[in-house]
C-alpha cells in the first residue's frame, strides 16, 4: 500500500523479496545496502537466527530520487524462505506494492522454487491480490553455481507469463540493481495508472 504524503511531498512504496530458503534474498538487500550512498539509505535491519537465516524479515529503506517534486522512497523487505515460517511470510506481504521472486538456479532447488512461487500466489490471494496483477519481476540467482538449470528451463518452469526476469549472482551484485530498478519502475507505472481504489 503506497503512502503519498502531500505535505512532505513523498511517496512511499513497499517491495518484498520472496523465494525459497537460501536462494539469496538477504544477499540482494545486503548488496544494495553496501552499494548505496549513505544519504540515500537508512539502516538495514535483519531479524535473523543465530545461523543467519531470516527469522522474521530484513528491512532496508531507500530513497531513489525525485519525480515531479515528489521524493520516492522504497521500503525493501525480505521474507523468511524456510517453509515453516509461512505465518511470518503472510504478515510481511501485507500492503505490498511490488514483488521480486528470487529463484535459486540450482537443479537441486527446482522443486523448492516451484513450491515457493505457489506459496506466494496463495498468500497474495489471501489478501485479495492476484500475482498476475501485482508489479512483479523474477530473478534467477546463483548463476555462478556448478549444477544449474538453463534460463530457458527456469523460464518455462517459473515464468509462463513472461514478466521481466534477470540472471543474477547476488553475492557479486550481478543483476541485483537491474532487478530492483525493474520492479521499482513497475510499481511507479502502476501508481501512475491506478488512481486510488
Amino acid at each position: 500500500m503506497s503512502f503519498i504524503n502531500y505535505l512532505s511531498r513523498e511517496i512511499n512504496c513497499k517491495i518484498v523479496y520472496y523465494g525459497p530458503g537460501l536462494c539469496g534474498k538477504t544477499t540482494n538487500l545486503q548488496y544494495i545496502y553496501n552499494k548505496t550512498n549513505p544519504e540515500a539509505k537508512g539502516k538495514m535491519i535483519s531479524l535473523a537466527t543465530d545461523t543467519d537465516r531470516t527469522l522474521f524479515f530484513d528491512f532496508l529503506p531507500l530513497a531513489l530520487g525525485e519525480i515531479r517534486g515528489f521524493k520516492t522512497r522504497f521500503h525493501l523487505y525480505t521474507v523468511p524462505g524456510q517453509v515453516f515460517y509461512d505465518a511470518s511470510r503472510k504478515l510481511i506481504l501485507k500492503g505490498v506494492d511490488g514483488v521480486v521472486f528470487v529463484a535459486d538456479s540450482q537443479i537441486a532447488r527446482a522443486e523448492a522454487n516451484q513450491e515457493s512461487l505457489e506459496n506466494l500466489r496463495t498468500n497474495l490471494a489471501e489478501q485479495q491480490l492476484d500475482l498476475d496483477e501485482v508489479p512483479y519481476v523474477i530473478q534467477y540467482n546463483k548463476r555462478d553455481m556448478p549444477s544449474i538449470m538453463s534460463v530457458e528451463e527456469l523460464r518455462a518452469m517459473l515464468n509462463p507469463t513472461r514478466v521481466p526476469d534477470f540472471e543474477a549472482v547476488a553475492v557479486n551484485g550481478d543483476g541485483v540493481f537491474d532487478t530492483l530498478k525493474a520492479v521499482a519502475k513497475l510499481v511507479l507505472t502502476e501508481l501512475k495508472r491506478g488512481t486510488p481504489k
Binding site: 500500500m1 503506497s2 503512502f3 503519498i4 504524503n5 502531500y6 505535505l7 511517496i11 512511499n12 513497499k14 537508512g42 539502516k43 535491519i45 531479524l47 522474521f56 524479515f57 528491512f59 529503506p61 531513489l64 530520487g65 525525485e66 519525480i67 515531479r68 517534486g69 515528489f70 520516492t72 521500503h75 505465518a87 511470518s88 503472510k90 504478515l91 510481511i92 501485507k94 500492503g95 505490498v96 506494492d97 489478501q127 491480490l129 496483477e133 501485482v134 530498478k181 521499482a184 519502475k185 511507479l188 507505472t189 502502476e190 501508481l191 501512475k192 491506478g194 488512481t195 486510488p196 481504489k197
Partner: protein, 160 residues
C-alpha cells in the same frame, strides 16, 4: 489492484501534528510517533531526532503484525495495547482504529497511568481524522500527482 492507498493532506496532517505535540506535553513523554500498519512513519513529536525513526517504525509495525497473528490463532481480537518496561525507557504501543499505531516512549518522569489516560484521549481524536483520510483516499475524483507523470519521468529516475 492492490490495497487502498494511504494519502496524507496538509489539513489532516496539521491536526495529527497538534495531537502528537499535545500528547508529548500532556503525558510528559519523551517521544510520540504515529506509524501506519505497514511501517511507514506518519508523524513524530518530542525528542525524535535522537532516535532512528524509520527503523523504529518498521519494527513496531512488525511487532504489531506478529501479535495480531498470535491473536488470530487464539481467536482473539487484535491486542490493541502493548507495554514494554525497560530500565530507563518504557514504550506504550496503541493500535488506533485498526489502521495506525500510536507509540509513546517515556521515562520515570511520568507514570504509566498518566500515559494511558492521555493515549486514550488522543486515540479518540485520531480515529476521527483517519476516518476522514480514508474517505478522501477512496474518492475516485481525487487527483494523484502520478496521473501526470510520464514514462520518461520514471526512466530518468534511474539514469545515474
Amino acid at each position: 489492484m492492490a490495497s487502498p492507498q494511504m494519502v496524507m493532506y496538509e489539513e489532516e496532517f496539521n491536526q495529527i501534528r497538534a495531537i502528537v505535540d499535545r500528547l508529548v506535553r500532556d503525558a510528559n513523554a519523551q517521544v510520540v510517533f504515529i506509524i501506519d500498519k505497514n511501517g511507514q512513519l506518519i508523524a513524530a513529536a518530542g525528542e525524535s531526532e535522537q532516535i532512528d525513526t524509520t527503523s523504529l517504525a518498521s519494527l513496531t509495525a512488525g511487532n504489531i503484525a506478529a501479535t495480531g497473528g498470535i491473536a488470530k490463532i487464539l481467536r482473539e481480537n487484535e491486542f490493541t495495547t502493548q507495554f514494554h518496561e525497560g530500565e530507563r525507557a518504557n514504550i506504550h504501543i496503541q493500535l488506533v482504529g485498526n489502521r495506525v499505531i500510536l507509540v509513546v516512549i517515556f521515562n520515570n518522569q511520568t507514570s504509566l497511568g498518566l500515559v494511558r489516560l492521555r493515549v486514550k484521549k488522543a486515540t479518540e481524536h485520531l480515529n476521527g481524522i483517519f476516518e476522514i483520510l480514508l474517505q478522501k483516499a477512496q474518492d475516485p475524483n481525487q487527483q494523484t500527482p502520478f496521473a501526470e507523470i510520464t514514462d520518461d519521468d520514471i526512466d530518468n529516475l534511474f539514469n545515474d
